[in-house]
């Protein structure tokens, strides 16, 4: 610890050395005086023989110093003093850098949380989404989600696979929870056996579903999300074993998933076992998301090959009912495209985020160029000071280091302010909650982001500091002591550096401008897309479901729906009411099926393209403000009479009957339905 003591007692030691030297000189002087010299001569001689007192002192002190560090600290102190004494320059520079670094740190934290961090599951690199495409199935091939899994596929994959530790399928939905406080509609996830095992996140309380819970008409069970458990049950642990009425059926709560747990990218309130009835399954029903955990060491390609191997087994094991050909799906050319779960979650946002990161990086470069320009101007003003320092013996290296330390200080201070800005920005972003940014809840400023910010600060400090430092700390500086007065004109060389910076800035700004312009155009184009409804600000949407378990009779459901609509319509200020299984642009959940036109002949064994459909109420399009090209809307009489009527889109009409047919141009109209089960 002696070095510590040394560090603290150093000032005393320095004083002692000075005193010792003073005594030395006096002793010598007195001796010389005693020998008969005049006092003045004696003093001079003593000094001459002694050498340069301050240099000796310096050398003596240097023995105790951690020289490099102390010089650096001195530079830091000096740099801070210079910044302090030029408040306007400092404020402008600091603000520029802070905004640049803040924006970069904020975007980086998003990129880091969304793209770089692994998913929040144990050994998440083993998790895959069982994605498949069916290029042979017209219509379906265009869907972003490809071909989902059918329950029969799930059983085949779960029982026959060689590549997975566990496989499961899941789907989201909604349900009504009653019996605990106010009735509430909750977000539901239905899982098969294997899903929780694949995700491998243990429950916070209670247990997972067991295989016994997946038996149809067996004991009905449910699990809760942490948030729902807190909200509805106040985090009461005794909730395990209690019953909740989910869609009017009592379900025993067996477990609560931990805080922050999500199904891939879905928030949920309640998890239910899907409990497929194995005996009733057919080949079709492609409505479930597949998830699996690869066995250790198994590659994606092997998993793909495994599924390819299992597809014929699937077609051999199940059918779509008597008289149908199970191998008809060979025409669909179902191809597995297993992909890492992370890619499934992140999706196409990845590209967007990298572009944003690159763009914001350019902005940072422009900010750096700006500050470099400021520094250039200021260093010019400091010519005299630098020349004096050089004349007093400061080496070129020392001056360059000093200037660099100063600009890095500026960078770091800017970075500190920037980190604050980034923190606020990220909070704002999360609060705003952009709908198509996955893993939103995971976005935060973590150690990586802070490290990135510090690195960026130092790097940008060096970047914008290096140009003026190298330009002005040259040997030239010593020569300009006399000439660097107020009247000196700016040399062409100095102009060149600044011109180059400006050219660089303009070039980068132009790139940004062009890309911003393109983005705005894309955005404009998106805005002009007809969403299928008009006057959005007068539209209010809400979600209601009437569970089968509560009202099993279809006719009563219809009556209840009709009554709800009438009651809503009776509210003052309500213009009209309609409902549908999905809102416009909401994505597809409900269904798709083949549509045959009555006046067309289809070749044997060929499946026409699958089409999406949804169920709508009378007056739905009128309420949404959707233009009806031809014909009319459904009526309650038709609904009660269970009359087979449909409305089709203009596109479908055109595709089926072409432009020549007069009816197709007035495309949306009631025609008789030929839905094939």
């Amino acid at each position: 610890m002696s070095w510590l003591r040394q560090l603290f007692s150093r000032r005393g030691m320095f004083d002692e050395l000075s005193e010792e030297i003073r005594e030395h000189l006096e002793e010598k002087t007195e001796e010389l005086v005693a020998d008969g010299m005049s006092r003045k001569e004696a003093e001079e001689l003593a000094r001459r023989e002694f050498g340069n007192v301050s240099l000796v002192e310096q050398d003596g002190w240097d023995v105790w110093r951690w020289t490099a560090v102390e010089n650096f600290l001195a530079d830091v102190r000096y740099g801070l003093r210079m910044l302090w004494h030029n408040p306007v320059f400092t404020a402008v520079g600091l603000l520029t850098i802070a905004i640049g670094i803040g924006a970069n740190a904020a975007v980086f934290s998003v990129v880091n949380s969304v793209l770089l961090n692994p998913l929040n599951y144990p050994a998440s690199e083993e998790l895959v989404a069982l994605h498949q495409v069916a290029p042979g199935a017209a219509g379906l091939a265009d869907f972003e989600n490809g071909l989902l899994l059918s329950p029969s596929m799930y059983f085949t994959y779960a029982e026959q696979n060689r590549a997975f530790q566990s496989v499961g399928v899941w789907v989201t939905g909604t349900a009504n929870v009653t019996g605990v406080g106010e009735p509430e509609q909750v977000r539901l996830v239905l899982v098969s056996d294997g899903v929780l095992q694949a995700l491998a996140v243990p429950p916070a309380v209670g247990r997972w579903f067991s295989q016994a819970d997946q038996v149809p008409r067996g004991p009905e069970r449910a699990m809760l999300s942490y948030g729902y458990w807190q909200r509805r049950f106040g985090g009461d642990r005794s909730v395990i074993g209690r019953n909740a009425l989910v869609d009017s059926r009592p379900r025993e709560i067996v477990g609560v998933m931990p805080r922050g747990f999500r199904f891939v990218d879905s928030d949920f309130d309640v998890v239910l076992p899907v409990a497929f009835e194995r005996g009733k399954l057919i080949l079709a029903g492609f409505g479930y998301n597949g998830i699996a955990r690869l066995k250790p060491g198994v590659e994606i390609a092997q998993a793909d090959a495994d599924i390819t191997r299992m597809l014929p087994i699937w077609m051999d094991s199940w059918s779509n009912g008597p008289g149908t050909d199970p191998h008809i799906y060979e025409k669909w050319r179902i191809t597995p495209m297993v992909r890492p779960l992370k890619r499934e979650v992140v999706g196409s946002v990845s590209d967007v985020l990298w572009v944003v990161m690159g763009t914001i990086g350019l902005v940072m470069l422009i900010a750096c160029a700006n500050v470099a320009n400021l520094l250039l101007v200021r260093v010019e003003a400091r010519q005299q000071e630098l020349a004096v320092r050089a004349a007093l013996g400061a080496g070129r290296g020392r001056i360059v280091r000093g200037l660099l330390v100063e600009s890095v200080m500026l960078g770091l201070l800017g970075g500190a302010v920037g980190a604050g800005l980034a923190y606020a920005g990220v909070r704002f972003l999360v609060a705003m909650g952009p709908a198509n940014l996955p893993r939103l809840s995971e976005i935060s400023i973590d150690g990586w982001t802070l490290g990135f910010t510090v690195l960026l600060s130092v790097f940008s400090g060096l970047l914008f500091g290096l140009i003026p430092a190298l330009k002005y700390a040259g040997p030239r500086a010593t020569l300009e002591l006399g000439s660097a007065g107020r009247t000196i004109s700016v040399s062409r060389e100095r102009h060149r550096a600044r011109n180059m910076l400006v050219v660089g800035q303009v070039a980068m700004a132009l790139v940004l401008l062009v890309s911003a312009g393109l983005m705005i155009r894309t955005f404009e184009a998106l805005r002009t897309v007809d969403p299928g409804f008009t006057e959005a600000r007068y539209l209010q949407a809400m979600r209601i479901s009437i569970p089968d378990s509560l009202v099993p009779e279809a006719e009563r459901v219809t009556r209840i729906q009709n009554e709800i609509v009438e009651k809503l319509a009776a509210i003052p200020g309500v213009h009209s009411v309609g409902f549908a299984s999905e809102m416009s642009m909401e994505g597809f959940d409900s269904g798709w099926d083949c549509i045959f036109a009555e006046d067309k002949i289809y070749p044997e064994g060929e499946i026409p393209p699958l089409r999406l459909f949804k169920h709508v109420s009378p007056d739905f399009f009128h309420t949404a403000g959707t233009r009806i090209v031809a014909g009319r809307e459904l009526t309650w009489t038709e609904v009660y009479g269970r009359r087979p009527v449909v409305m089709i889109s203009e596109n479908l009409a055109r595709e089926m009957w072409g432009h020549a047919d007069g009816r197709s141009r007035q495309a949306i109209e009631g025609i008789r339905a030929h839905a094939v089960a």
């Binding site: 005594e23 240099l55 002190w61």
Partner: protein, 113 residues
């Protein structure tokens, strides 16, 4: 203006001489210089100031200790004293110096080689 040709001492020489002087008796800075000058018969030109950084180095390595005291001429001075480590260091340095000197002398002595 031109000084007599004067060789710099090799690094560590001054320290070695200081330790040797202090082995005989504790001394303060000024007295040390006088002793070295006297003992070398003024063959060595030592800038008096250079003694002090050397003393600081020895202090730092704890080869000497310093204490404030009163000199023979009744001055407040800092008196340096050899430590045990300093004595050992001196021995090692002297023997290695002697070997080096012997080597150099042999190479330089006429007649051989």
């Amino acid at each position: 203006m031109k000084k007599e040709v004067q060789r710099d001492l090799f690094p560590g020489a001054l320290e070695m001489m200081i330790l040797r002087m202090l082995k005989r008796q504790p001394l303060h800075g000024y007295a040390l210089v006088q002793q070295i000058k006297r003992n070398s018969n003024d063959l060595l030109q030592i800038e008096e100031g250079s003694l002090y950084p050397a003393l600081q180095r020895l202090l730092k390595e704890e080869l000497v200790k310093a204490e404030w005291g009163i000199s023979a001429t009744n001055r407040r001075v800092r008196i340096y004293r050899l430590t045990a480590a300093g004595a050992k260091h001196l021995e090692r340095e002297v023997s290695s110096f002697e070997r080096m000197l012997e080597g150099i002398t042999r190479v330089l002595s006429p007649g051989e080689v």
